[in-house]
Symmetry: D2
Subunit: 426 residues, 4 copies
């Protein structure tokens, strides 16, 4: 992603745009064919070094690029460099080419994340563990279900990226104020030819001052970053010393504590995701684009769009690495279900009772039992077996069965299967 969004790649795309434009203008008899070929050849060979060195952080100034390109072509072609176009066409089209490649790379990485999630979902479909709401034990789930939920989210992201790829990526060609005035009545034809050359869809009309395409692509990428923060956040929480259900294989040491195995990829993923999301408000605010070209908003995109893609790319890559090498401690997951007196089975017991005495009666009984478990330190099984209200409704075997996590998983298998099917359909 760093290569796709480097300043050099951006410059190369701008040169490709100038070459494609010249060829398109020759094909539509706007400029001489020989001039177009000379421009295209020079654009392919131009030395990026001095241009990159002379400019700052953003894209290379088009005025400098045009000057260099003009100097690099034969005298008779000079008059046709950058014909009928303007800075914004070159910068925006180059950015679109970068974003197209960036979306493709994100999709590939997400599919790799999906592959690992799918494997985890399959392998751990029966690995019970505590479901946790408000960071407290809730009811049992399986690690396979958790991975299946991550998977379903990743699959949805792939579909979304494909949709923005299809609907939002587009050529920008409008000239100074978006009328293609110097092309007279050939504007439509030239745009089609440029689009073919660059393999970019040609929009109905220029969009230079209406930044909704960029904002929408950026939002989709931002949602990917947010999705990565969910997965890596869960891994961080599961890996805490006291929970220890997963360990990152590629953990990092400490400069002073010899025992440390710090979670490296998940922290890097969280960090990258947050930095990615910080770029998004800048891009959305830039939609308030003044007239036919902005005074500040558009220019912030030059930094914010690359930042967004770069940080999101890193977040996805860290999540991919994280999951590919994640060590799962299935035994610990199961044993954590027993912590705190096994209260994670309280709802299960309540519903077993509810079948006989109704949910409104069952709930307060189990709440009492939970208080006893907390107060006396007995476990829920013993508290239930000893409770006359419970035993009036359920016999000892029924109580035991109600407290078995494996029989209280509901549609878990179904959900895992569906997530896997949606992934396989990609």
């Amino acid at each position: 992603m760093d290569a796709i969004f480097s300043r050099e790649t951006h410059l190369r795309h701008m040169l490709a745009f100038e070459a494609a434009l010249a060829r398109a203008e020759a094909a539509t008899d706007v400029i001489p064919r020989a001039a177009a070929e000379a421009i295209a050849a020079a654009a392919g060979l131009l030395d990026a070094g001095p241009l990159l060195a002379d400019s700052g952080d953003g894209p290379v100034a088009i005025t400098a690029l045009v000057r260099a390109l003009t100097a690099a072509v034969p005298l008779e072609a000079r008059g046709y460099v950058h014909w009928a176009t303007t800075t914004q066409d070159a910068v925006d089209t180059a950015t679109m080419l970068q974003m197209r490649d960036g979306l493709d790379l994100l999709e590939r990485e997400l599919r790799a994340v999906g592959a690992t999630c799918a494997a985890l979902a399959e392998r751990h479909r029966a690995t019970t563990m505590p479901g946790r709401t408000f960071l407290q034990h809730a009811t049992p789930i399986t690690f396979g279900l958790k991975a299946a939920r991550w998977l379903a989210m990743v699959v949805r992201q792939v579909h979304r990226l494909r949709r923005v790829r299809e609907h939002e990526i587009a050529l920008q060609l409008g000239g100074a104020s978006g009328t293609l005035a110097p092309l007279g009545d050939r504007g439509g034809e030239v745009a089609v030819a440029v689009g073919q050359e660059l393999r970019l869809p040609v929009p109905d009309l220029p969009w230079h001052a209406e930044r909704d395409r960029v904002a929408n692509i950026a939002s989709a990428v931002g949602v990917v970053a947010g999705a990565m923060s969910k997965i890596s956040g869960d891994v961080l929480l599961l890996g805490q010393s006291e929970i220890a259900e997963v360990v990152e294989a590629a953990s990092g040491g400490s400069s002073t504590m010899p025992q440390k195995r710090n979670p490296t990829d998940s922290v890097a993923a969280v960090t990258s995701a947050r930095l990615a999301l910080a770029a998004l408000p800048v891009i959305l605010a830039a939609m308030a684009h003044e007239h036919e070209r902005a005074v500040g908003g558009w220019q912030t995109e030059w930094v914010a769009v690359p930042d967004l893609f770069r940080h999101t790319g890193r977040a996805v890559t860290h999540v991919r690495r994280l999951l590919e090498t994640l060590e799962i401690d299935a035994a610990r997951m199961r044993s954590n279900l027993e912590l705190g007196g096994g209260l994670v089975m309280a709802e299960a017991l309540a519903f077993a009772l509810a079948a006989t005495i109704g949910r409104h009666e069952a709930y307060p009984i189990v709440r009492d039992l939970a208080d006893r478990v907390r107060g006396d330190g007995v476990d829920l099984r013993r508290a239930a077996q000893e409770d006359t209200r419970v035993r009036a409704a359920l016999d000892a075997a029924e109580v035991d069965r109600a407290l078995d996590p494996l029989v209280y998983l509901g549609s878990t298998e179904l959900f895992v299967d569906r997530a896997l099917a949606a992934y396989r359909a990609l």
Copy 2:
């Protein structure tokens, strides 16, 4: 939009969810039919007042709602209220219903904005005005083209809202930790029945802890807000005292300055759009949802999602009103083309020269003329007619023709036509 995202509407949707769930569970033989009907009837009649009064800013607590609903049904139905579900199911499904209605309302309002943009684009397709880049005169455009660009953006928004409406709106039904454990193997069936009752698509699996659907809907709405800031921002700039090309019909007075006609709707639209966008980072950050239910992020959605929709709704409505009554001063637009010695035609002159002497030769000549216009106060026409280099390439009539805005509009008509066609295809 205020009504759609009121706390009372949210409560009504939660009650509709409880009713639909009870009916679905009866239809799948999970609970008795009579109990389901009693629950559904009571849910429809429940007095919202006390529940709303007792709770704070966010959604009414489900625990209180369940208590009230249980008290409102006959004894034999009490045990079946809220069966197999949990707070998050009710809250998330209710929010989805609100967002569905919100998206529909936004689409209607955007189509109304589109209708006015279309009328402006048609009516002013030949109303020339200065195109402005960096807030400086660039080359001529027409006001019709500007309106057509707004229109194209609005049409794209409608398509985007339809896509998120189709792909992201979905039922949430998972129970305590997303397994639908109390439903045993009936979870899938029950979900289908609830979805039918509420006319909500049923997802492959619960998404309570993966907030990408919400984030993606929110992003699409945020892009709408951003689009409104573009339109209203342009109107504000065009309406400045010194430019005066448009006037808001519903302008506001000042408490102290008798002459004032302050732009009311455009300022309100900008304000609302900015407030809408402020809600978006909260929602995206909430994707870092801890385990099976979050500690803070999810809860921020309760405020941020309504805020986002409400402010965006206002932004669209203000833009609609603004455009519906906007006064266009076509004469002023044309006369503004003459300001500053008519330098807005400099590129046109340069391309007219370029046809003979090449763009690289023509550009510096016109730059010299522009300096003379700025320095001596002559206009560009006279400076051009008097310049021997220009007159060596163009005769007097050709110079005049090169400086006529009406013949330097390129593909303007084509672009207006295409924007109108895309709008009509909606």
Copy 3:
């Protein structure tokens, strides 16, 4: 805080401003004394109801207020209502009065938070627990130290709020464009008199279009919100089922799980803090205030500033309640030090060895021991006692001493004492 930032309070402050202005103008012989007294009297008695009902979400429109106030005074005073001032003076001064009260309330609440932190720091200065970095056991700390760190942060906040209270709160009085033109050469005098009446510092010159005062106050409040997210976040993590070192007394139940004691105040504090911080970028962006009055930015403050204070106020109040009733399980804190084979003492052992063999030699030995603890399931004590490299450097008693958390607390006492001293100096 809701009362301080209600629309009614804002209206009352605007009326107080109009009253103070009239009196000040009378005192400086700008308007008749009788008119001023009539205006001040009417301002005190004006019925807020209709004005509030007729306006939307933001502050009541000054034009409406001026009309109502004019109607409420005798004929001979009517000409002097709102003399020489403008909307922005009234709105900004009213907001300053609200912010002043808001800062005072925040300070009071923070001092109450500080009182509880101080008590916890004192009481638990010797309650050992695992220090955790990267969510992993690091080295021992005491809960008193953690509370002392919270305390020190809270004390710093109080000092910051006092500084912005002193330097940023100020009267706004400038008239239409900030020149106080209608007052001729009396502007300075009138401002002093208004400031005295409202007990507001008088700035060198109007600041209506330079919003740095508001932005700086808002930032200080935002940092308070952020501080609350630290404290409540730590409590949430400490209260997880598997860690269980603290319990919120006012825990909430679940609608379906009978065992649940969900952390209510800490989740509410995190939620409020995040919502507060969402308002800050809006306020900072509003600094780009156009000319003498803005088109959108200033108007967003009307929503964002109250939101910021309200949410921050809630965050502080939730943290106060949370800490005041927090149950500390000191035994569990101590026993958690033993988890994972007691690896939390690895650094302590390394430094004990380092005194003899150097840190660079000691560190790899202890890393080996840590690997053995993880692999074989022995605890660090036994692994250390059995290791010949360790025993070459330390005898058995020295090993035991090195592994005693109570002797590896360094400057903990000193730091607790200092935080308490800084608090007492408030």
Copy 4:
């Protein structure tokens, strides 16, 4: 600012920290003096190249630095490198040193901005121009007053930066979990010695996990960025083709339009200010720092803090350059007062009338006149002279005097003087 926040400078500061720590530990008899001198010498000479090359975007990993430093000292000193400290101490202290230098540089640049504002305020104290509210002519001001308001804001910023410099910049020294355990009872002494060496204030206790100092410094810097967006935004608006009251000397050309003089520094300032403000929410969110070291938030500071300072530094520098070479067209400012029939004097006329007939009577009369000016195209002077209601109250000379901008400037001179005095007192 790029140099201050480069990764190399950060590395140098971390090495300076290690050197200072070693010396401090020698001075307090914790480690041998010879070892400390060897470490300090090696730290000063260490080749940064390989360390920078091997690490990514963030700070060089301390583990690598410690390894390199250990390898660079004699055998007998190796055991004392990085004694009793941890990554966070080195990173945070290095960042504090960078921020201290960054604050100093910002102050210098702001003082230079202030110098130019002061010169403009002095020179143009009588240069009348339209005050503009809602982008509409309001009442007259002088350009000197506008510059004085900018100046007052800049002076306030300098005071704020000094306050955060004094109260927030501090050493971080806590070791693994913030207890300085390996130093036993010497922690306090060592910290004092390190602080002296690095000329950093020593805080009461470590603040590694309470990020309010960083957040508060960052906020103050963010407010500086916001202030720059105000000044550059005003310049952009004043420089529009139709207003043309200022021109940026260092304007940029267009790649296609020969006449263009695009505002370069003001656009760059706006861009930089927005990018700076985008970093702030990241830093504030990072206050939710988990336990004794964070999993993501702290790590985002490594990118966000340098970004914030760099972009803010650029914004200030662009504003400085912009103002130093700004061309003021005083004649245009004055003539713009005549635009639109001179309605900018409507309030002045209303108050001249109000002195006789009361503000409530005068206001509607002048509103009528304004409507006539807009409708008939006469100017306000003629409309007023011809109006019998006006002439019943004012004679012809009084009307003329009421419409003279120079006599309707109120406290303008006073305000300019005060802003200058506050600047000189810096």
